[in-house]
Symmetry: C2
């Protein structure tokens, strides 16, 4: 049977396999220096401590760790997360926390709750690729918010809200993916105020907040949220390990209860085993020492990449200098075609993600996203040397 043609709804048509994804499969070969993936450094994973945690969980609570669990999440982990959020300046209790499969699932659940085909989502421009995909799966329409080197510009919002009646604003205030840009304190305060005044719901995605390697910490937008219009999402993917697929959202009560039903419908609950292993790891190990090692390594890698880019890149290229996170954002000359450059770069054994796909609307051909967390300093220098040679040859 050919697949019934009537089933090819707009949703099916939209879901085309990505060209870049196919190209980047090649980038997994070891001889290629890849700045493409958004991967943490695996040599910093706390493998031994996780093994000890898994052993303890299965020895002491094996049956519970392998049984179905509550859709909300493992209670002790929700408690830990609430404490963690409090330390970030957020008033939240365990009852506000829904544990998810990475913070990616938060994007999916929120989209499923709020988006009907054609509904508007406000985003930074560019924004996180997989957020675009998650919202697109529900046929959202994207309206970009003007941004500069301090993040999105809150003053632009009232007009956009009036014109587009958006369902929510999606923002990554810390070391944004893909640009590395951080939303300033003043703008966070303004954003919370404007959102409250216009009843705008904000989905604040904060996967990288704990990865600040220089500069002073700024509280999340949620810290200034007095009216319950901010959903705060974060993850253990960058602080423990992404393979466990553990994230969370803290949401106002009325939204929480609906997200919980959608979570149950989506997959009943997140792995009981992974939740308990993470919880055992978190309580048995010094997190600030562990995070200090990650921040130290990522800070060094950023400096190495920044210095190498200064040495290797020709005139006409500039890039962001993030204070944390895993990415920097490179702007090339206006005529640069990032996808075409990637095809040539792979032949020269270096890879990155062309910027185009991070723009929900048009434009963006002359941008590249470079990841610096997943390569050691020597590989970073070599990769930037290869990239620089290609760009200079243009």
């Amino acid at each position: 049977m050919s697949f019934p043609s009537e089933l090819y709804a707009s949703r099916m048509r939209q879901l085309r396999p990505s060209t870049i994804r196919e190209i980047l499969k090649v980038a997994a070969q070891p001889e290629i220096v890849s700045f493409a993936g958004g991967l943490p450094a695996p040599e910093l994973f706390p493998v031994d401590a996780v093994r000890a945690a898994a052993d303890e969980v299965l020895t002491r609570h094996g049956r519970e760790a392998l049984q179905y669990g509550p859709s909300e999440g493992f209670p002790a982990l929700r408690e830990w997360i609430a404490g963690e959020m409090q330390s970030r300046g957020i008033q939240a209790s365990a009852a506000d926390v829904l544990v998810t499969n990475g913070s990616q699932q938060v994007l999916d659940l929120v989209a499923k709750l709020l988006i009907n085909p054609g509904d508007v989502v406000l985003t930074e421009n560019p924004t996180y690729l997989a957020a675009i995909q998650a919202f697109q799966a529900l046929e959202a329409r994207f309206v970009p918010v003007p941004t500069d080197e301090q993040g999105l510009i809150p003053e632009a919002l009232p007009e956009l809200i009036k014109k587009n009646r958006p369902k929510f604003l999606y923002t990554i205030p810390n070391f944004q993916n893909p640009t590395g840009v951080t939303l300033s304190r003043e703008r966070r305060i303004a954003l919370a105020r404007i959102a409250a005044a216009h009843e705008l719901l904000i989905l604040e995605d904060d996967p990288y907040g704990k990865l600040r390697y220089r500069g002073a910490e700024i509280p999340p937008v949620k810290h200034w949220d007095e009216s319950g219009c901010v959903l705060y999402a974060s993850t253990f993917s960058k602080t423990i390990a992404p393979g466990l697929r553990l994230g969370w959202v803290a949401a106002p009560r009325e939204i929480f209860s609906r997200l919980l039903i959608l979570k149950q419908a989506a997959d009943l609950h997140t792995s009981s085993f992974d939740q308990r292993v993470a919880c055992a790891f978190l309580t048995a190990n010094d997190q600030s020492a562990h995070l200090g090692r990650i921040r130290g390594a990522y800070g060094e890698r950023f400096e190495v990449m920044d210095a190498a880019l200064q040495k290797e890149m020709p005139a006409g290229y500039r890039w962001t200098r993030p204070e944390g996170g895993m990415f920097l954002w490179l702007t090339g000359p206006g005529e640069l075609d990032g996808l075409e450059l990637l095809e040539r770069a792979i032949k020269h054994q270096v890879a990155f993600v062309p910027g185009r796909d991070f723009f929900p609307a048009e434009g963006g051909n002359n941008y590249l996203r470079l990841n610096f967390s997943n390569s050691n300093p020597a590989r970073i220098r070599e990769g930037v040397r290869r990239l620089g040679a290609l760009c200079r040859a243009d």
Copy 2:
């Protein structure tokens, strides 16, 4: 801020917290004999073998097990699953397998791909509660297919298809949840034939297929699918442990590629750690011996419950006698109100799920679903004694 009223779309209104769910939270107390949950027997979980598998995975492949992985799933696990499906009579290769967070996520992804608000899904009547929830989250409309003690009646389909133009048919052919009924071989053949002739997509959900404790195995509907109109879903929740949240779907190529994009948008991928632990467990341990123990225990528990019901229940009650799985389905007198009975039953320290919520349309007040996998024989006898006393007092 009160949550913006314009956001209370039909989806928000539909997502009401369930009364039964709240009542059943009480049933978790140890003094209550609960036939309510769909829980496997935790004393049969292979805890030691899973601990050995976790230890091996973290010792030998720690970094890979904790890193991001492919959205399709861990390759070696997909291979194992393909072999497993072949042993069930399905022609499938690893490339057809998408690993998911339990088979529940298959329901979510398929619904997201195919259902627009108001689209029709054909289901057995009654059908799996969480399937109703997953499809309802996308605002599906349900049309029940007439069923009898051999499952759904394929001959009823052409008329239903013509009238409703359904997006797909959802069926649980083995030891159905909630009824325990098994679709006969003849009907499976007829179903595959009618589906092909009418280009009807079938979602075959087979979580219990390996839990047959008597009678001869019948191949899945997918075995007779020559035209690629059957999606086959199953899970490790009943054969290893549900806490790992591992399931899968085998889908025709054009659907697979779209489900893969939706899986990536939903949560990037299923836990790398859990997938590798399951794979190490599956390859290091004798599955037929392990499954034999589960089948033996569940078969015994069914017999104990059946005998206890015969002894305790008054006239006017009858129930199904499944050849496998975890549930039987009890029909009371027409005037029975299952929800009201549950409220009284909890006071007498026994619990079940009232049948009402398993019916996507109207009716069903006089049914109860009883789980027999999660209580030992002594508890089953005691629970049925309490239930029988209540029913006899009516």
